[in-house]
């Protein structure tokens, strides 16, 4: 079975917010998405996917992987980042992996969900701390790139725009003072 997905079909996948088959995730080090410029092995690909899922996890609503947001992240970096941006992404990815290895003695992909969350939170705190923000700068840059693209992909996904917020293609009117009903407490 050919597990490689042609990246050009991504719009379709993302558009339909399909739940991806689990056999997509290959842990043997073979990449599953076809990219033009980025050279990712399966391990690295999973790291990015797991990070995206850590940022937007599956709850009673779909998470980043369910919605294919991880694939969107790859596509954006592959198509829209210039050489320098891609080099920084790759260098950051490596450093990110190394920092995790050093701290936990195992890879990010081997961490539990709770450990991944704790680690991501550490990076958030560290990069907001003016005394500490230069530490692991490449890894931090990589983290914010993945987070930015993940959030962008999620908030522009069909699922989000039609089921989480009210997006109407044809609003038909402008209500200049629309009351906000708070959703259940976050």
């Amino acid at each position: 079975m050919n597990r490689r997905i042609a990246i050009r079909n991504m719009a379709l996948i993302l558009g339909s917010a399909a739940v991806l088959p689990s056999c997509l995730h290959d842990n043997k080090g073979k990449p599953v998405v076809e990219l033009k410029y980025l050279k990712l092995n399966g391990e690295q690909e999973n790291l990015v996917s797991n990070l995206a899922e850590t940022i937007l996890p599956k709850t009673n609503t779909p998470g980043a992987k369910d919605l294919g947001i991880n694939l969107f992240v790859f596509k954006m970096i592959d198509d829209c980042f210039d050489q320098k941006g891609q080099d920084e992404f790759m260098a950051g990815l490596k450093e990110f992996g190394d920092v995790v290895d050093k701290k936990y003695g195992k890879s990010f992909n081997e961490l539990t969900a709770a450990e991944r969350t704790a680690f991501a939170n550490d990076i958030e705190k560290q990069s907001k701390d003016p005394n500490n923000k230069d530490k692991d700068a490449k890894a931090t840059g990589f983290y914010w790139t993945v987070k930015g693209q993940t959030v962008f992909g999620y908030t522009t996904s069909k699922y989000f725009m039609t089921e989480q917020i009210i997006y109407e293609l044809v609003p038909g009117r402008y209500n200049a003072m629309f009351p906000v009903k708070k959703k259940a407490a976050v």
Binding site: D82, E124, T162, Q164, Y167, L169, M177, K183
Partner: protein
């Protein structure tokens, strides 16, 4: 009579070309409209107009391939995934930059009327008098009263929504009902008014989006997807408005893929007899003949057509006798303003996407005020609520963060200035005969820059924006400015200016080329000054006025 003979030829199909075609054909002239690019059929060819944001592969963003293919467009917001095919192919049609100039073009039927910003403001008497008072450039050969009824005529047909604000510097027009300000804009407006009283004004934008049904067009549906083409025909474009009216007369022929290479001048009659075109698809050359020619190729390309129409009589091109053809390039300088955060109103939002904002008309150098520069600027802005801005430490990732993304974020308010640029003889375009486009035609070379007056004005444009927003209660106001590179206002003007004297201007008071009276130029090229208002409404009015005059003169046998 040859099949290539018409009563009138219109070069270009954008805002002013569409108007020329409508007016001339409605007055009974057999008219051909020549468009250099492809046809775009109303509704049918708006291929992305009904897509959701998620249906774009990169969600509207720009890829490295796009950045490579569009070295000019990439310099500002127009390079995007959603309407990429409305922008000129830069590899086919390059230009030379002696100095940087950001030229954003649309080569297709409808031109930039499909992508325009739609803000529509009348000029004021002050604007027409300014050159004479300041001793800058040449005096406008017309005044507000000459254009007033044509503004009204243009507004009624195009459909401009706006409020009759009674602001002296911003004459009211024949408007459709205005769009609403949202609650934050109303609040800012109130504080603004409390502080500035009647010395400055804060009004809802006047936009060429119809708010009630009009001429078989559906009123605005608040999609804010105008620049993809509107399936409802809710904003003014050639396709939605002037073209159907012109076609209904049975007098109009539209010929896409027709690059006008030169106007054919007859030195015996001292008039133009027609034009030569290259068919952009077949590279074959054809000639078309007519009694009257309207040049509406957009300011810089209209000048190109005239410059490329050199003869042994006019070596610098048709209309070159004054030495002003291609000179006095103007645009509005922008990229300067301020923005900030709005506190409160967490329980309020708005529904629908309004393709309009607020407007602060010019207030500087009026009523006796004298700054260290002349003329002035206006602002466009809006208050809005971001979709997500949750970046609270406890909630920056994970389940809570994911849920927080679907709650509205904080309110903000921002605005940017549009500044008047003076007509400088030094700011010019010329033919670069060392380089050719895809069709072997010489390309334009740009030697245009902002000068001292604009640079001084920009200091006020930022500082005033900061001050006004602060006075109006906006928090954490930050100003911004930039180099003010011209072109990115996408309001090119001035390259074949109107005037009172053939020695210093290219066109007379009726937009006729002094050197060939049956050639009319009624797009941005005709402008003797730029004012600071968005100019398209003025082109519509000038075009309708000139067409009326042309037909009248034809009837009298004087053309």
């Amino acid at each position: 009579m040859s099949t290539n003979t018409y009563d009138a030829i219109v070069i270009g199909s954008g805002i002013s070309g569409g108007w020329a075609a409508k007016e001339l054909s409605e007055k009974g002239l057999k008219t051909i409209m020549l468009e250099r690019g492809r046809n775009i059929e109303h509704i049918k060819d708006y291929v992305n107009a009904n897509k959701g944001p998620w249906e774009f592969e990169h969600r509207g963003g720009r890829t490295q391939k796009m950045i490579e293919d569009y070295p000019v467009l990439k310099r500002d917001y127009p390079l995007n995934e959603t309407n990429l095919d409305y922008w000129v192919d830069e590899k086919e049609s390059p230009y030379t930059e002696i100095k940087r100039f950001d030229w954003f073009r649309g080569y297709h039927v409808g031109g930039r009327s499909l992508m325009w910003g739609r803000q529509s403001y009348r000029w004021h008497e002050t604007d027409f008098e300014a050159n004479a008072k300041d001793g800058v450039g040449v005096d406008w050969p017309i005044r507000y009263k000459d254009l007033e009824k044509w503004y009204s005529y243009a507004e009624k047909f195009a459909g401009i929504s706006g409020n009759r604000d009674g602001v002296p510097i911003l004459p009211d027009g024949d408007f459709m009902p205005p769009m609403d300000m949202n609650i934050v804009e109303k609040d800012v407006q109130k504080r603004f008014k409390d502080f500035y009283k009647d010395s400055r004004h804060f009004v809802i934008g006047r936009t060429a989006n119809i708010t009630v049904p009009h001429n078989n067009r559906t009123n605005c549906q608040y999609r804010n997807k105008c620049w993809l083409g509107c399936p409802f025909g809710a904003y003014f474009s050639t396709q939605s408005a002037t073209l159907p009216a012109a076609m209904a007369t049975g007098n109009l022929t539209v010929r896409p893929w027709s690059i006008v290479t030169r106007i054919l001048y007859d030195k015996d009659t001292k008039k133009a007899k027609g034009v030569e075109i290259i068919d952009a698809e077949t590279n074959k050359t054809y000639e078309y003949y007519a009694k009257v020619i309207f040049v509406n190729a957009s300011a810089l390309n209209s000048a190109w057509v005239l410059m490329n129409s050199a003869t042994d009589v006019w070596e610098g091109g048709l209309g070159s006798s004054s030495g002003e053809l291609g000179h006095n390039v103007m645009d509005h300088h922008l990229g300067v303003g301020a923005g900030g955060r709005i506190e409160g109103f967490e329980d309020k939002y708005y529904f629908g996407r309004r393709a309009n904002g607020i407007y602060i008309p010019r207030y500087r150098n009026l009523n006796g005020e004298k700054r260290d520069y002349i003329r002035g600027f206006g602002y466009q802005g809006s208050g809005s609520r971001s979709n997500w801005s949750r970046d609270i430490a406890e909630m920056s990732i994970g389940a809570g963060f994911k849920d927080a993304l679907s709650e509205p974020g904080s309110w903000g308010f921002g605005m940017g200035g549009f500044g008047e640029t003076l007509p400088y003889h030094d700011n010019k375009i010329t033919l670069d005969k060392t380089k050719k486009d895809k069709w072997g035609l010489p390309i334009l070379a740009f030697d245009v820059e902002v000068k001292e007056n604009e640079k001084k004005m920009r200091v006020d444009m930022m500082n005033d924006a900061v001050e006004m927003l602060t006075k109006a209660g906006v928090k954490d106001v930050k100003g911004y400015t930039s180099d003010g590179i011209l072109g990115r206002g996408i309001h090119e003007m001035g390259t074949a200016r109107m005037g009172r004297d053939p020695k210093t201007s290219v066109l007379n008071e009726w937009n006729q080329v002094w050197d060939a009276k049956n050639v009319f130029v009624t797009d941005g090229a005709a402008m003797a000054s730029s004012a600071c208002q968005n100019p398209s409404l003025t082109y519509m009015a000038l075009t309708a006025r000139a067409a009326d005059y042309a037909v009248d003169q034809l009837k009298k046998g004087t053309l």
